[in-house]
Amino acid sequence: MNTLIYTSILGFLCMVLEIFNVRKLIVPLLVLGLALIFGLNLNDWNSNQSFFNNMVRIDNFSVAFSGLAIFVTLLIFILATDYYAEDHNHISDYMAILTFILVGALMMFNFANLTMLFLGIETLSIALYIMAGSKRFDIRSNEAGFKYFLMGSFASGFLLFGIALIFGATGSFDLAKIADYTIQNQQNISPLFYTGMFLVVFAMLFKVSAAPFHFWAPDVYHGSPALVTAYMSTLVKIAAFAAFYKLLSGTFFYTFEKVAPVLNAVAILTLAVGNLMALSQTNFKRLLAYSGISHAGYLMLIILTAKNQTAGALFYYSLAYALSTLAAFAVAIPVFKAAKSEDIDAFNGLAKKNPMHAAALSMAMIGLAGIPPFAGFLGKYYIFTEALQSDYFYTTLVAIFASMIGVYYYFKVILAMYSQPANEVKMEQSFNYNLVLWVCLALSIVFGIFPGPILNIF
């Protein structure tokens, strides 16, 4: 609970600091504040308390994911110092809104009530709509913001309607009470409830950008400022999946059999669409968008097995994915800036000019492709074992084929760096980017070699 309150205070503080004209201090203060909150959050481990008439529940699941979210945000903020170096006038707005995205994500980890879930998703989404469109004079950014807003509103409408129908059937917003209802009325669960459940599931599928609800993702990832894309593809995805998992494992587990075939089909479709569409991309951000969709497909396998309490796998995979993606962006953002282009061509010949960065980006790509010794490999391994254990034989086989395809497009980036002639672009060296880059890669290898503590965190 402290985590949520203090993070919100941090967001407000950001805007207040604007008045005192201390813009330079904003990012360092935020980083410091988040580091403190990270510590406070760990304090809640094993505490299991609920607040506000069981609106919010803190358990190990929420503490672990909050920790991950705060950590990711911390890294993003370190990147932000340099990213917004030339846009100093708006930095307090940007940082405040980014902090509120985190607030929304935190709510999505510790909700115990459907209204809290809705509030969390909306806090996160509205802040994100603004950030997606925050490059005001860039037509693509405007498009991204608007598109995301329109599509997101629809999804929110679905979610709200679903929640209302569930309330109509069960008379409660409380997750535990809804679960009780499904157990007690085993024979005659109202059709209202099923309709509501499906609507909520569809809304969540939209938020995690699973096919066929994925159409917004490439355009929004492409148009948004690179830093926001990095934030979207890590934190927002993790938050959406954690909330989705929590709903299915804690509330809808009894009626899970009804949605399972749909989710299974969605998982297969997501894996296919994400990987096949990624093959032909020439823009790096679109590539990462489709790679994000394909990773959503792997994570859907965990959602399918949510009944078996596979939160450990979800956490490990999210962590591995976030680390590799952030490392990729920590190289990509300065390259984009220097090349004034976000195509894969911008990386041409990077190996000759900056061999260290080229090696680092290669490692990030190999990590995303799920090749040992990086954490991405064990994450996939764990997911596939769980899926096979729950008898999703063919879905796992599709996922295996998807991983094969994945190698091709991740290696396209590596090929560009090593085999193309160098372009004129001079990349600026910056301490902050390098810090994030090497921290992410080091952690990715460390967790890949010593997975124990993370895999068995719950």
Binding site: I371, F384, L388, T396, L455
Partner: protein, 477 residues
Amino acid sequence: MLSLTLLSIPLIAAILLLFSRGNLSRNLALVFTLVQLVFTVYAYTVFKNEGSQAFEFLANWSVKPVLNIHFAMDGMSLVMIMLTNLLLPLIVLSGYNREIERPHIFYSLMLFMQFALNGVFISFDGFIYYIFWELALIPIYFISFNWGGENRAKVTLKFFIYTLAGSLLMLFAFLFLYNGSPAHSLDWASLSSNPSCSCNQSWLFWMFFIAFAIKIPIIPFHTWQPDTYATAPTQGTMLLSGIMLKMGTYSLLRWLLPIVPAGVAEWQYVAITLSVIGIVYASVIAIMQKDLKRLLAYSSIAHVGLISAGIFALNLSGFQGSVVQMFAHGVNVVGLFFCADIIMNRTNHGEIEGLGGIRLLAPKFATWFMIIILGSVALPLTNGFVGEFMLLFGVYQYNTWLAVFAGLTIILGAVYMLRMYQKMVLGTALKENMVFPDLHWNEQIVLVTIGILIFVMGIFPGPILELTEPVLKNLIK
């Protein structure tokens, strides 16, 4: 603990090398590979005197999912370890009079490769085995890609995706076995003592077989191989053909046969037929080749085809022949590619036609090249003969006609090898003013070592047979 030392020497070396520069890198690489060789000899004496106990290493990596690290040693692993660690110093030494860009990274990757190869051969748990199998792919990809010839981006990507696709199928099979096994264990001993139901083995066989067949390569999974061999830098080709191919044939014996016995029995005829077709097909293509490196690549397909045919004959002489021939082929093919590199390096000429007269200019080179070729065409008293004889005998016991076709390898091998030698080395020089300095000191060491090995192993194959016999007899059951 000995297993861990075997792994840590090349790994530490690989990391250290990153911080060296220039000539120091290759000297360091040579020193470390020699240290590893000496240590391997020590490991051999320990294994002879005390048995495999000293190599056992079992540790839990993760509780859920159950992941164990299990390193062990038996005769067959030891033979492969000896092959790897014997060839590595030779491969490093063969680059001594060549200029290589960024040598510290090149040699670091090479030692990392050695680490992964050692790991593959001593892993007795499916999971850790898979990890090393994949790890071996990354350094060789970057070696072929960064230091390769023309068209390298396309060729190496094809190689990488081809082999990775195979390994992912294997991963799926391992995951399936993991779920099926009662203790959720991928330990070699438990997998081989409780095979999964024969209804599943039928398709599990193909999952493993395709993964290994791509690596070996068995026709029709061979299309990556000639291009990659021709494109990769010579030292990379040596690693690929000398050691990495053996990962596939070794894995057939170590994993496929014990884990899915019913599947092997069911599909034996397909596997052995594919292998024999591969022998004839690759030999015929080798005869038609104009390019020296490609000729060697196809001859390599023919040789490993015979090895896998011998394995799938499922009898003792086939198994023993395959292990002997894995070792022999590893040594010979490294020598052959090195000779090809020497010729191409001095004349800038990779075609078989249009050269000649090398013997007049470089008699030492011509002699050692001849010896290696004789080993490769399986002349009696050379190492190739022992292996091929046993392999053919093994295939003969399975089916006479298959043995007849497989036996063509010796005749056809002699045709393309000797003809190539005649055209390139003998006769008078077709090129005017050809300059061909005789062997440099490092080249001489490498070729003489290989030449001596060819005869020693051909006359005394006993130690290898002795080492592997208990393991292979166990496999027959």
